[in-house]
C-alpha cells in the first residue's frame, strides 16, 4: 500500500497541512511539538479509523477549532481509495470511503494495512499480558478477517456474562449462565486458535527480524493457557474451566478464567524476556515483533503495509538503527525523528502548518 496524499485541517497543532509523500522511506524531521507524530497519527487514523495512541477523538481536534477534518488517498490492491473523516467537537464522527459511508466499519478491517512502531512498544515485552494478547489478536485480524468477528463475539459474550453475574449475584439462574458460558467458550476457543495460528505464522519471521536488528539468541512465543487441559478441545476446555470456577465467578461477579486472562509470553533462549533480559534486549525484541508483523502481513497480502515509525530509533544505539533501516521492507515507511543525521530516504522538515522537502 502507498499513501498518495494527506490533508489535515485543524488536527492538533496543524491548522491546515498538505503532505504528498515519496515512495519508500520518508523521514520527518522537526523539534518537539512540530506536529511530526500528528502526521503519522493522521495516516494511522485514516487507515484504521482509530488513533494508534488510543487517544480519544476529541484530543485530535486543534485547540479552539470546532472540529477536525482528515483526508487522504491510498493506492491499495491495484486501485486508489480515498478516505475522509470529519470529527466535529461534541458529536459523532463521519467517515467516508470513496465518497460513501461504509455499511459497517468492520468491513474495513484490514483494507488499509498499516503497522505502527512507537516508544510504548517496549511494553509489548515488559508490561502485563494485555498488549501481547492485543498484538496477536490484531495480527490475526489483519491476516484473517473472520478473526476480527470472533474476537468481537468473544468480547461481547464476556461482557454479557459479566453483566449477568453483576446483576444476578450469587443466586444467578444456572440455565442462563450455561448459555453465556457456551457462547463465550465457543468464541473464546476461536480467539485462542487464531492466536495459535499467528504464533505459527510469525515464528520464522520473528527469528529473522530479531537477528536483523542485531539481537543474539532465539526469540519465540510461548503460549500455555492455564485452562487448557491435556487432550481436550479448546472449546470443551474453556467450558470446563468456567464450570469449575463457577462458584468463584458468582462470588467475584466476573469471569475469572478464559482466553481474556491468558498470558502469552516472549522468551529469549527459553527465559522470559519480561524479567530475564536486559532493557536493550527487550527493546530489540519489541522492534523485531513489529517488524515480523510487517513481514507476515506483507507476505500474506502480496502488498507491503504502510509502516509508521514514531521516534523509536532515537533510543537505539547507531549500530542497531542501521540494522533496523536495513530490515525495513521495500514498502512506504514514515519515520519521525528529532535527529538530523539519519542517512537514508526522503527528508521532510515539519513544523505547524508545514511539511516541506528538506534541502
Amino acid at each position: 500500500m502507498r499513501l498518495r496524499w494527506l490533508e489535515l485541517t485543524d488536527v492538533r497543532v496543524h491548522r491546515r497541512v498538505v503532505f504528498e509523500p515519496a515512495e519508500g522511506l520518508n523521514v520527518l524531521v522537526g523539534g518537539n511539538g512540530a506536529g511530526k507524530t500528528t502526521l503519522l497519527e493522521g495516516i494511522g487514523y485514516l487507515a484504521r479509523a482509530r488513533s494508534f495512541r488510543g487517544t480519544p477523538e476529541e484530543d485530535l481536534i486543534r485547540r479552539g477549532a470546532a472540529g477536525a477534518i482528515l483526508r487522504g488517498e491510498f493506492e491499495v490492491g491495484g486501485g486508489r481509495r480515498r478516505v475522509e473523516v470529519e470529527l466535529p467537537r461534541g458529536s459523532r464522527r463521519r467517515i467516508l470511503v470513496d465518497g460513501k459511508r461504509p455499511r459497517r466499519l468492520r468491513d474495513l478491517v484490514g483494507t488499509f494495512p498499516v503497522v505502527v512502531f512507537h516508544p510504548d512498544d517496549l511494553d509489548l515485552v515488559k508490561a502485563g499480558p494485555g498488549l501481547r494478547r492485543e498484538y496477536l489478536d490484531d495480527l490475526a485480524a489483519g491476516l484473517w478477517p473472520e478473526a476480527a468477528v470472533v474476537q468481537d463475539d468473544a468480547e461481547t459474550a464476556l461482557r454479557q456474562r459479566n453483566a449477568f453475574l453483576r446483576a444476578a449475584g450469587p443466586a444467578a439462574e444456572a440455565a442462563i449462565l450455561d448459555v453465556w458460558d457456551a457462547q463465550y467458550a465457543a468464541a473464546g476457543a476461536r480467539v485462542y486458535e487464531y492466536r495459535r495460528r499467528v504464533i505459527a505464522a510469525v515464528g520464522a519471521p520473528l527469528e529473522a527480524t530479531y537477528r536483523l536488528v542485531g539481537g543474539a539468541g532465539e526469540v519465540r512465543w510461548r503460549y500455555e493457557p492455564t485452562w487448557l487441559g491435556e487432550d481436550t478441545e479448546p472449546e470443551e476446555a474453556i467450558l470446563d474451566a468456567l464450570r469449575r470456577r463457577r462458584g468463584r465467578d458468582l462470588e467475584l461477579r466476573r469471569t475469572s478464567a478464559g482466553p481474556h486472562r491468558d498470558d502469552p509470553v516472549l522468551e529469549l533462549d527459553g527465559r522470559p524476556l519480561r524479567s530475564a533480559a536486559s532493557q536493550g534486549e527487550q527493546r530489540t525484541a519489541a522492534l523485531a515483533c513489529r517488524l515480523a508483523a510487517l513481514v507476515v502481513l506483507g507476505n500474506h497480502r502480496g502488498e507491503e503495509p504502510v509502516l509508521l515509525v514514531d521516534d523509536v530509533l532515537s533510543e537505539l544505539d547507531p549500530g542497531r538503527v542501521d540494522g533496523v533501516l536495513r530490515a525495513l521492507p521495500q514498502g512506504q515507511v514514515f519515520l519521525t525523528t528529532t535527529d538530523e543525521g539519519l542517512p537514508r530516504g526522503t527528508r521532510w522538515k515539519v513544523a505547524p502548518d508545514l511539511v516541506e522537502v528538506a534541502g
Binding site: W144, P145, T156, A157, Q160, A163, I176, Q183
Partner: protein
C-alpha cells in the same frame, strides 16, 4: 429558539429516531404551513393508534383487538410457532408468504448489558403456549447477533423437556447475489449450514 409552541413541537420531533435538529425544524414548519386539516389528521392518527393498539393476548403482536389477526385466522397452523424479538419482525416474515404458523413475540433478546434478562422477556408465556397449544415445532427467528443466538440457545434448552422440535433460521447467502460479494463470515455460516442436494 422559536415561539414556545413551535419549539415544543421541534423538541418532540427531534426525540424521534433518525430525526435530527434540522429535520425536526423542517417538519415543524411544514406542519405549520400545510393545510390545518392535514396537520390535525396526523395528530389524530397518532392519538388513535396509541389509544386503540394493544398487545395480542396470545402472541403479543400489536393489534386493535383482544387477539391479533394472525391468531384469529383459522387457516393458520397452531402447531408451528415462530419466535421473534419484536412485533415489527412479523410483517417481514409474513411478506415471504411461506410461513403459515403462528408467532410469539419475546420483546427483545437476552442482553444483560442493557438490563434485559429472561424475566424481561416473554419466556414463561412461551413455555405455557407450547404446553397448552399442542405445539410440535418452535422456529426461533431471533436476530443473528450474539444476543439473538444466545436467546435461541436458551429457548432450545428451555423447551427440551417439553419434547418439542426447536429449529433456528438458517443464515446464508443472499439470493441472486454473487458468491464473490459475500463477506467471509456470511459465507462461513452458509458453509456450516449447507444442505444435502
Amino acid at each position: 429558539m422559536f415561539e414556545p409552541p413551535i419549539q415544543r413541537l421541534v423538541d418532540e420531533l427531534a426525540r424521534l429516531p433518525g430525526i435530527g435538529r434540522k429535520s425536526a425544524q423542517r417538519l415543524a414548519f411544514h406542519l405549520l404551513n400545510t393545510e390545518e386539516a392535514d396537520a390535525l389528521r396526523l395528530a389524530d392518527a397518532i392519538v388513535e393508534m396509541r389509544r386503540s393498539v394493544r398487545l395480542c393476548s396470545r402472541c403479543f403482536n400489536v393489534t386493535a383487538d383482544e387477539e391479533c389477526a394472525i391468531c384469529r385466522d383459522p387457516r393458520r397452523d397452531p402447531s408451528i410457532l415462530c419466535v421473534v424479538e419484536r412485533a415489527q419482525d412479523i410483517p417481514v416474515i409474513e411478506r415471504t408468504g411461506t410461513f403459515s404458523g403462528r408467532y410469539h413475540v419475546l420483546g427483545g433478546a437476552m442482553n444483560p448489558i442493557a438490563g434485559i434478562g429472561v424475566e424481561e422477556l416473554r419466556m414463561r408465556e412461551l413455555v405455557g403456549r407450547v404446553e397448552t397449544e399442542h405445539v410440535a415445532e418452535v422456529i426461533v427467528a431471533t436476530n443473528p447477533t450474539l444476543e439473538g443466538d444466545t436467546t435461541a440457545m436458551y429457548i432450545s434448552r428451555l423447551l427440551k423437556p417439553a419434547g418439542v422440535r426447536v429449529t433456528r433460521l438458517a443464515s446464508g447467502l443472499p439470493v441472486g447475489g454473487d458468491l464473490d460479494y459475500a463477506d467471509e463470515v456470511t459465507l462461513g455460516r452458509a458453509l456450516d449450514g449447507r444442505k444435502e442436494l
